[in-house]
């Protein structure tokens, strides 16, 4: 027997350590993780004072874990190993049937949910406008048949029940059945992202139009472009890299619009399309709708039949608003996670005929930026 073969574990161990160390020290360093959407840690500060304070050690931990060669590969190895040993959902994302990656349920935080609902409701009452509330159900709730057998309970029904108790000024638009029925006809939720598909948003917008007494959306869109290779944020968080990608569809009504994107701090961009094709180059293509997250977005469509609507929303509205734009002369979208001026001032400046609050159920249970309303 050859000598090296008899000590194969040692050979494997030493080669593995040597290759990993060499690549870590001398290989190319990443600046930004596309999957995690964050800046990666760089080589640590080696000054004696930083070492004594323990800062260097912390930075070294961050550096090695962020710059470890084959980082995404290892995350994938761990994800599939965890799955293979039965712990589906260990990283808060379920590997569901038919390629569905589904966020596990958020804990039912009744206090936060109550705060959010009462703040929205108080604001609606203050404006005196006809106001609606759309709570977009979670993928886990809508696509229950795609979940693994052992999964946590989704709280969407509880959220709807509590909302019915807590809000008066807002009219709740119950979209649970609409979307569940829609899921039998077509794909309502993305498989790799937590948002609704264009079809899902079309159903949502149609339901809104009906409730608001506005003109129906068209039945047929002549111009639907389909793009393959969409890997959403659920996919990025999951490590299940072998999941097949989604497609993203742009349903273009042909409306002549002017879109203004404002991030506060004086940075304003204008465009003449609801879609931002630059993002189709990325793995996460969802920002193709209205260029992703912005503090304040206004869409003007002078030839539309309806008046103006103010939407207080999260990212679920990116795609939804592209349908609304067809029917309203002015759609103003406020994202409280980034918008830092009083919304009442905004309303005084840009009067609206209607108010809509649109949030994903998950965000109602976790996000507390509604505090900026009061």
């Amino acid at each position: 027997m050859k000598k090296w073969y008899s000590v194969l574990p040692m050979v494997v161990f030493l080669v593995f350590l040597a290759v990993m160390t060499a690549l870590l020290l001398f290989g190319p360093k990443g600046d930004f993780s596309v999957n995690e959407k964050r800046v990666l840690a760089q080589a640590p500060d080696l000054s004696p004072s930083a070492i004594l304070k323990g800062e260097t050690q912390k930075e070294l931990e961050d550096f090695t874990s962020d710059q470890v060669p084959g980082r995404d590969f290892f995350v994938g190895v761990n994800a599939y190993w965890t799955l293979a040993t039965g712990r589906n959902g260990a990283q808060d994302i379920y590997h569901g049937r038919d390629g569905y990656l589904i966020n596990s349920p958020k804990p039912y935080n009744e206090a936060l949910l109550t705060d959010n609902l009462t703040r929205f409701d108080a604001f609606a009452a203050k404006t005196g406008l006809p106001a609606d509330l759309i709570m977009v159900p979670t993928t886990g709730y809508l696509m229950e048949d795609k979940l693994p057998a052992a999964h946590g309970a989704y709280h969407d029904d509880q959220v709807y029940d509590l909302a019915a108790e807590k809000v008066q000024a807002l009219r709740i638009l119950d979209v649970r059945e609409t979307l569940r029925a829609g899921a039998k006809e077509g794909q309502v939720c993305y498989r790799t992202d937590h948002h609704l598909t264009s079809y899902g948003n079309y159903l949502l917008a149609q339901a809104y139009q009906k409730a608001a007494g506005g003109e129906d959306l068209r039945q047929d869109y002549d111009d639907i472009s389909v793009y393959d290779g969409f890997y959403g944020t659920t996919w990025s968080g999951s490590g299940y890299w072998l999941t097949k990608p989604d497609t993203v569809e742009l349903w273009d009504s042909g409306a002549q619009v002017t879109v203004t994107l404002d991030d506060g701090a004086g940075q304003v961009k204008t465009a003449h399309s609801l879609f931002f094709p630059d993002h189709l180059e990325d793995l996460d293509k969802y920002p193709v709708f209205l260029d992703g997250n912005h503090a304040l977005v206004t869409i003007e469509n002078p030839s539309a039949p309806g008046g103006s609507v103010l939407v207080i929303r999260d990212s679920y509205a990116h795609c939804f608003a592209t349908f609304l734009a067809e029917k309203y002369q002015k759609v103003t979208l406020v994202d409280l996670r980034y918008f830092r001026t009083p919304v009442s001032d905004l309303l005084a400046e840009h009067p609206a005929d209607r108010l809509l609050v649109l949030y994903g159920v998950d965000n109602l249970l976790t996000d507390n930026n509604s505090a900026w309303l009061s």
Partner: protein, 460 residues
């Protein structure tokens, strides 16, 4: 620094292995000492001074004792040395507990708060130092006259943090002469990888289940509470024995041979057997340096019982500065006494499965005392376990079944038996190599994933 971390695996370890195998032997202990200090100072930049202090005190105590004329002087030096060692342990490990407890007495409630962080590994290196002083006093081993070698022994990084408790007399020869062969290195690498897999792929995972059930045992219910306690039982074994395996593996890669610390404790068929298999280097330390000097069993029955209770109370208290640890020690002291005096002869007649079940139930209950933050939460948790209360925890448990089976099998000698049966086959090195690679990939995968944090704000 812990062994199961990326900076250790990809920076510290490669550097130490490379340099220590390139350097001529006469420089190696010096280099190892430097590496030990870097390893320790990485996590405890200031507390490394305490360890250096301990090295100096013990080195010179032994030197003085070695030269002292007459038994009483030698004994005097020994007592000074032991008191200094235990004082360090008392101040840095137990002062907070003692003062905190005394503050419950109304007259002493004005005592200041004591918040001293525990220097890592102090329980281990202090016990090593005490064993060294006593061995020198007993003339079981010579007092070291090579400071660097001695300092290297006290601070030796593989066993610094979690044992095994190595005695100077066992490694004295290895400090001056080590045989390094590819075969020894190979077995060291294998043992290290096995230990890391136990720690990262099993212990770290089972900890999540215990965290889940112990956070709210009442909501989890009785069945889930049992599963949580069993998960902790597996966690602490794989954590501790994994760490010991890594230590022994690293030792072999550097030419040292350390004692076995765990010998499949969960196949035990009595409490007495469990303690012969669990944390062997600690039990034998207490046996040799406390139990036997107290008179062991060569004394009256009553005295013998007292000796046993003292030793087990101390063993419990060594594990942590909390009254629940003292209780946990007493719990075993009492159970061992019961087995020794009454139950032992009956247990042997039981079916083997029943003997095992009896031992394991006692062990699992024992870990609840050990793992809980205090006595009252331990009792509350045990209350749920024996309440038969239903709960919502069972859904959470289902996904753990696969890992639980892997853990249960890994806690038996099955793997070792198979390996010994087929070790001479031609395909064995290949199988070992493949398993080594798989374990490395999975461990690094798990360690990397701990740091994989998609920036949540963007998930909206």
């Amino acid at each position: 620094m812990v062994f199961s971390s990326l900076p250790f695996l990809f920076l510290f370890l490669p550097a130490v292995l490379l340099v220590s195998h390139i350097l001529p032997f006469r420089f190696r202990n010096g280099f190892l000492l430097l590496a030990n200090l870097v390893f320790y100072a990485y996590g405890e930049p200031v507390y490394v001074l305490i360890m250096i202090g301990s090295i100096l005190v013990n080195y010179f105590c032994a030197r003085i004792m070695d030269r002292a004329e007459g038994q009483s002087r030698r004994r005097g030096v020994l007592i000074v040395g032991i008191v200094l060692n235990l004082a360090a342990l008392g101040v840095f490990k137990y002062a907070g507990l003692f003062v905190g407890t005394l503050k419950h007495i109304p007259a002493l409630s004005g005592l200041p708060e004591v918040n001293i962080a525990l220097p890592i590994g102090i329980s281990f290196y202090t016990f090593q130092a005490v064993s060294y002083l006593i061995d020198v006093y007993w003339r079981d081993c010579p007092a070291s006259d090579r400071f660097v070698s001695f300092a290297c022994y006290i601070s030796l990084f593989p066993q610094l943090i979690a044992g095994p408790i190595v005695r100077y007399k066992d490694v004295n020869d290895q400090l001056s002469h080590r045989v390094e062969t590819p075969t020894l290195f190979n077995s060291g690498a294998r043992l290290f990888v096995v230990g890391m897999a136990k720690k990262v792929l099993l212990a770290n995972q089972f900890s999540q289940l215990w965290d889940l059930t112990s956070a709210d045992p009442v909501a989890a219910g009785a069945a889930a509470a049992w599963c949580g306690a069993i998960a902790y039982t597996l966690q602490i074994y794989f954590d501790f024995s994994g760490y010991s395996d890594m230590a022994r593996g690293l030792g072999r890669m550097l030419g040292f041979e350390f004692c076995i610390n765990f010998n499949y404790p969960y196949i035990s068929q009595s409490v007495t057997e469990f303690w012969r298999r669990w944390h062997i280097s600690l039990s034998s330390w207490f046996r040799d340096y406390v139990y036997i000097p107290l008179g062991g069993n060569r004394c009256s029955k009553v005295r013998n019982c007292v000796n046993i209770l003292v030793v087990w109370a101390l063993t419990g208290f060594w594990h942590g500065a909390g009254w629940n640890f003292l209780f946990w020690g007493f719990y075993y002291g009492v159970l061992l006494l019961i087995e020794k005096l009454v139950l032992g002869k009956y247990i042997k007649r039981w079916p083997k499965a029943l003997q095992w079940l009896y031992a394991m139930v006692i062990v699992v209950i024992g870990w609840v005392f050990f793992a809980s933050p205090d006595l009252s939460s331990a009792l509350a948790y045990l209350g749920v376990m024996f309440s038969g209360a239903p709960g919502d925890g069972t859904v959470v448990l289902l996904p753990w079944l696969g890992l639980a089976v892997i853990g249960a099998v890994a806690a038996t000698p099955l793997g070792k038996t198979l390996w010994e049966k087929y070790r001479d086959r031609n395909w064995m090195p290949l199988a070992e190599g493949v398993l080594t690679l798989a374990a490395l990939l999975l461990c690094v995968g798990s360690l990397v994933s701990d740091s994989y944090n998609p920036f949540l704000y963007f998930r909206f």
